[in-house]
Symmetry: C4
């Protein structure tokens, strides 16, 4: 969790500090070798550690707020949404949701889903929508 | 359909009020457990309810206009396009179309399609194109 | 090919006039009911017809230039790239290529591919990259 | 590797010089006819050759830096990430990573993955995120 030394300064902090993904969904079913899941993929190009505050929005209930994650400087982190916790609350499977990622430093965010509900996996991915 | 109370003010209204998706398509066929469909996924980060006016464009006929939907404040809504109605008109299956979503407040829009025409589902997703 | 009447003025011309898709590819093989193909999906929100000039770039040869297409006002057009012609030249299957779409009026462009090389289709889609 | 002659001047250099892809992954397994892989797809619209410097970021180790590639003017290049080398180091399979592409001239970058871990391929694609 340490930031890297200052000798690497060619990649400064880049991107946006607020990213949105409207279509989140953790499939109920998995078949075959790979488990259905979706992931928030973050790149922190800079040298400072990024503190993320993630909010999960639903269709019919109050948001899950203040989910905290960190991404070290000059590191990527591919975060399975099923692992996110706000107190002891987590994202239920089979429910449409949306994601907001706020970061303490500029980052870049992509969202990907693997669905193996019907055997033979399906993939989708989008760059999250940055708001400056 | 009530807006949330004013104690949650950290997420203000964000995004754009005009979003475009050129590649809409509801597959004719479904196989297996999951039905072929496409969805407009909306996130309304703010506290005010968003009134959406959706227009559907076709290749060979006049657009379907003034389809109305709403998304409560601090909620997401994943809208299956097959459920959209303009008077009693709806989007036919198996026909290429395009979508414009206009909103009364800033929102973020993503478009996703699940195609199970040939068993074993296929997924695709794009962030809609915002126009400010 | 006529523009629509002037009574519809709520959707003015929107988007960009120059769009880029770096990853074009027409799969060699199709299995099952659906043919492998890729498509350029265009929406013309305005009332004026859009004249498109499409350029196809390759890895190892000169581009195919001056491919002309048109999209009527208030219409979408989903154009299979396999149908594009520059004189009698066309895009070969199984070859990586890239696409530039230039338009006489602002439009919005999305690119999608259906690959049924191995039975059970795969889908991918991206919003093209606009350059203003 | 020669730039094209100056008679083609309608497509000037376009795009951005810094592109980011947070979700890179080379699947461990391939089944059927097509090999699992991911690709960085670059379009160089201009007449000058583009020199690319690619950095690969990981979750738990220092980045691979100074991977060099070039894309001739008026050409596209679809680069399989498994072929990238920094000295003799390469991207391991089955490990989450992220990509930064820096170019000497403006280009446009898309990222695509084909996953045939479970037979019947899956596809995903995103436009890389440009930073100006």
């Amino acid at each position: 969790m340490n930031d890297v030394t200052e000798q690497h300064t060619n990649h400064s902090s880049r991107g946006s500090m607020y990213w949105v993904i409207p279509d989140g969904y953790i499939p109920l079913i998995s078949q075959g070798e790979l488990e259905s899941h979706d992931s928030i993929c973050v790149l922190n190009c800079g040298t400072q550690s990024a503190e993320l505050h993630i909010t999960i929005f639903f269709e019919d209930r109050e948001p899950l707020e203040n989910i905290v994650q960190s991404v070290d400087g000059r590191r990527t982190k591919h975060i399975r949404t099923a692992t996110l916790r706000s107190d002891r609350k987590y994202i239920p499977k089979g429910v449409p949701y949306a994601i907001v990622v706020e970061s303490s430093v500029p980052i870049i965010v992509q969202y990907s889903r693997l669905d193996s509900t019907q055997a033979e996996l399906a993939l989708m991915s989008v760059m999250a929508h940055p708001i400056s």
